[in-house]
Symmetry: C2
Subunit: 413 residues, 2 copies
């Protein structure tokens, strides 16, 4: 149906879109179609003013007194409580700080401290690399006590032996966009006596997430994708209240029960605060909070509905290009199994992504051959999807990907 949708129908979809007003809350250059919000979310218009206030008033005028006076010291927990509303967590179960990678380390080592007799950290091959790299670092340091194991994505449940201390899985796969069944897999992990750490980097703010509904143990996620927190934004960590007695290995002073008493020995704070480590990154947190606040204004059910409709429209419109130019859908066609992105495999994926940029479409390439279209319902229009496929067809029709300048791979894409 959507594949043959007339232009007029797309216009009416945009006109009837209840999320349409959100687009004006973002800075988006005229003419640009940005399909990479799942790598770096767009800039909320409110962010610049908020940062100017934090810099000029809170830092410039308030100086050191702003740790209390401007609530800098509690920002990680305050923003954590806001993120909690997006992912089905309770207040006091999430803290926003550090990078996703560092939070993976904290969550995994906390889980290991609760399953000391079990050696294995399990994940899937093809998981986002930093997840597996962090596992490998823990293994290297453990002196043989911990083993980092990856298995094929479909073999995860079968691999849940009584050796497995903790399973680390990403809810929405960074390349394919496939959604894992959080409740079912968490149940399987628990039945095997293991704990689970969910990576929400591609799900929080993109699909409804219910951590406590699924009885999840730990979770971590990224602040700069669907939460629009800015480049390298602080990440976040969820620990279910029942695990707040776990031992943090990154036992820095901001996780201490009384950091400003400057005691000699580490005594972890009660609750989620112990999962902090160093001094909170105030500027990054301020930008993240603007993005999270904006996301909280949207109805997540509406976000999901529009995300799926955008994806369905893209897949339908792409069908003729698949037939003519060899694109192969690399995401689930059944939209219930799909996050907020659609990926295609194409041998010239990298070159096509480059050629699209010259036509002012930013999509993403993920090695070796994946062209990834991120769908951000707060600032994408149905007409953007139609226009994207039209521009892509121009690239294909002229074989623009053959231009020599596209055949030199850059270090960062």
């Amino acid at each position: 149906m959507t594949g043959t949708m007339a232009v007029a129908d797309v216009v009416s979809l945009d006109a009837g879109d209840p999320l349409a007003p959100f687009r004006d809350r973002f800075h988006l250059r005229e003419g640009l179609i940005y399909l990479d919000g799942n790598s770096l979310g767009a800039l909320p218009r409110a962010t610049g003013d908020r940062l100017a206030e934090v810099i000029g008033d809170e830092w410039g005028e308030g100086l050191i007194t702003s740790w209390l006076g401007a609530s800098w010291s509690t920002a990680p927990r305050r923003i954590g409580d806001k993120i909690a509303r997006l992912v089905g967590a309770h207040p006091g179960e999430i803290v926003a700080t550090d990078s996703t990678s560092v939070n993976i380390f904290k969550a995994l080592t906390a889980a290991l401290s609760l399953r000391r007799e079990r050696p294995v950290i399990l994940s899937e091959a093809t998981n986002f690399p930093t997840d597996v790299y962090m596992m490998q670092g823990i293994e290297a340091f453990s002196g043989g006590r911990v083993k980092a194991v990856t298995v094929a994505p479909d073999a995860i449940v079968d691999a849940l032996s009584d050796e497995v201390a903790v399973l680390l899985l990403t809810q929405v796969h960074y390349k394919s966009g496939r959604v894992r069944d959080m409740a079912a897999i968490t149940r399987a992990a628990h039945e095997a006596g293991a704990l689970i750490v969910w990576d929400l980097s591609h799900s929080a703010g993109a699909i409804p997430v219910d951590l406590n509904g699924a009885n999840a143990d730990f979770a971590i996620g990224c602040g700069y994708k669907f939460l629009n927190g800015g480049p390298g934004a602080p990440a976040y960590l969820f620990a279910a209240a029942r695990h707040h007695g776990a031992t943090p290995i990154l036992s820095g002073w901001f996780g201490h029960a009384r950091p400003f008493d400057f005691e000699e020995d580490y005594d972890p704070a009660a609750g989620i605060a112990r999962f902090q480590c160093g001094t909170p990154p105030v500027l990054g947190l301020a930008a993240l909070e603007v993005g999270v606040d904006l996301m909280l204004e949207a109805d997540m059910a509406e976000v999901r509905r529009k995300s799926l409709a955008l994806g369905d429209l893209l897949i339908a419109r792409m069908q003729p290009l698949c037939d003519a130019y060899g694109f192969a859908l690399a995401s689930p066609r059944d939209h219930a199994l799909r996050g907020s992105q659609v990926a295609y495999a194409h041998r010239q994926g990298y070159q096509i992504a480059q050629a699209l940029r010259e036509l002012d479409v930013i999509a993403d390439f993920r090695a070796p051959d994946i062209l990834r279209f991120g769908l951000t319902p707060l600032y994408l229009r149905y007409s953007d999807i139609v226009e994207t496929v039209e521009r892509l067809e121009r690239v294909c029709a002229t074989r623009a990907w053959d231009k020599p300048q596209y055949h030199q791979r850059a270090a960062v894409t």
Copy 2:
């Protein structure tokens, strides 16, 4: 001499101060005397505009392309190279990222990986707490393989047994301001077969530091004190070039040799890049770079000379208050042994710091009884020191510290 210095002499000191023009490069509220730049440095005037540019142009307009186009991905190394010039390191030996605490973890575990047969991480009791807390977290995780040991400050060299893998010391003590002899202690550590990690949080930007001159192994430091990088600014890590083969435990994707090839296994980058972990905190790094650039404009020998003169003036002026009101100098009187701060012990230290704030002097309190005056030569005047002591005398003469509101300790001071 300086104790009885006439007001006119102080005016001429300020008039002849070659660093005086730097004061205008900072935002400082009229009337405020800020003696806490060793806790949070003041705001450089250039920071707001630079952040507006990063947010509006680089993020808002450039979006994902700014990782290359605006050199976000290399910012940790570029800024590291700049910090290197302040602390006697070579280009390619410092990376700016993560918090001080997280970098302590990286440096200590890297050192342990180079001394696998030795179990002890040694430090001094009374070190800044997060240093020792991070040691204790490593011990807790190691399953008995690593021991975190602290000894009295004067017993450090004697404690360098053949059990010690790595010694973690702060060059300038956060309370007393006492300066450690970096070259002598590094030599003693090496003679004992141990490695050393120097914490430069209170020395970089405050006193001349020569890491390679001292043959230091690793160092870490804070971005938001004398470097004026803003609240919770990214910290930095130094690893001497000879240690770039050490294994990072926080093995995140930004430390990988080819992060954007998304390989399955961790393969650490050559050089200092492997000491990165997650995605760089771009906004925090941008603010840090403004502070570092400003510091690089100053002649560090001149900074040191003025810092000592400010401290000597303060100590001289404080002498009558010591006699009359019971302040006890808690920093070395010999200024060669003193960093860029002067501390006094007083039973009412906390209350006095609070009372001073009502007279628009911000000094710092450190439990249990230390009143700490941070000396930042780029934006403090000699007249500020004289005025501080006059205001403090008013506090003492009226026993303003007895006000009931000062007797309730806040969580963060």
